[in-house]
């Protein structure tokens, strides 16, 4: 039954999958980063289809806008080049990939076997800021505060880890 919902879903889904596969196929990390940005944008579209506007917005702003920028900056900073072809681990290929395949097949079988005709309506989720706010600052206040502390710690950790050793010495002498 071809509805607008389905067409849009398939369109965004195709972009997601294409971007994911491209991430694997590219050799230069910057290309992989750009593919990942495309995936995230398409996912934001999927969220909109489901009615989660707030999540979609946050996805674009935080994920695609901040985290991926961080990735790109790092690639620039480290001057990452094309991936070298080194002799890696046989285990990863021999054991990991089959494991992955088996896991995926099993999950797919479960999903397709189990699910019936439950359908998701377009935009079914009430994603208005009022409800979100209520949940975030009333029901889930503690996790909210804890994650803010987490971010603070992450910032401090990142600064210390990434700074030059002499810089730390200078700071200590002050």
């Amino acid at each position: 039954m071809l509805s607008l919902h389905l067409i849009l879903f398939l369109a965004f889904g195709a972009v997601c999958v294409a971007g994911a596969v491209n991430l694997l196929a590219q050799t230069h990390p910057i290309n992989s980063a750009l593919s990942l940005i495309a995936v995230m944008a398409a996912l934001a579209g999927e969220y909109l289809l489901l009615g989660a506007e707030f999540v979609a917005a946050v996805q674009v702003i935080v994920y695609a806008g901040a985290i991926m920028v961080l990735f790109v900056f790092t690639i620039m900073l480290l001057n990452a080049g094309v991936e070298e072809h080194t002799k890696g681990s046989r285990v990863a290929i021999v054991i990991g990939v089959p494991g992955l395949l088996i896991g995926s097949v099993l999950l797919a079988w479960v999903v397709l076997h189990r699910s019936g005709t439950e359908a998701v309506a377009m935009g079914a989720l009430p994603g208005d800021p009022r409800t979100i706010g209520q949940l975030l600052f009333h029901d889930f206040l503690l996790p909210f505060e804890v994650t803010s502390v987490l971010i603070l710690i992450a910032i401090m950790g990142a600064v210390v880890l990434a700074s030059k050793p002499e810089a730390i010495q200078k700071r200590k002498e002050h």
Binding site: L24, F71, V120
Partner: protein
Amino acid sequence: MVPLSYYLVLSGILFACGVAGFLIKRNIITIFMSIELMLNGVNLSFVAFAVHWHALAGQIFVFFVMVVAAAEAAVGLAIIIAVYRTRETLNVDQVNLLKL
């Protein structure tokens, strides 16, 4: 009307691509990006189930996942920079001192 299972399959595909990237790729930054891909796939399934069960908490969970992913990305990239300083390489196969 899209059945729930379609969303779950899409989420699964994204997750599988993430795992495959982790296993196949050699550049540490690319591996990190595969991790982000995995997290995104999971986020999608969270939202899909939130719609299915009419539980708005699913969205909030996605929010927190994103926050943690951000923190993790920041710290992880800082570590990569620190390791690059001493090892001069971004190839994960050459950073193998944690062994017997």
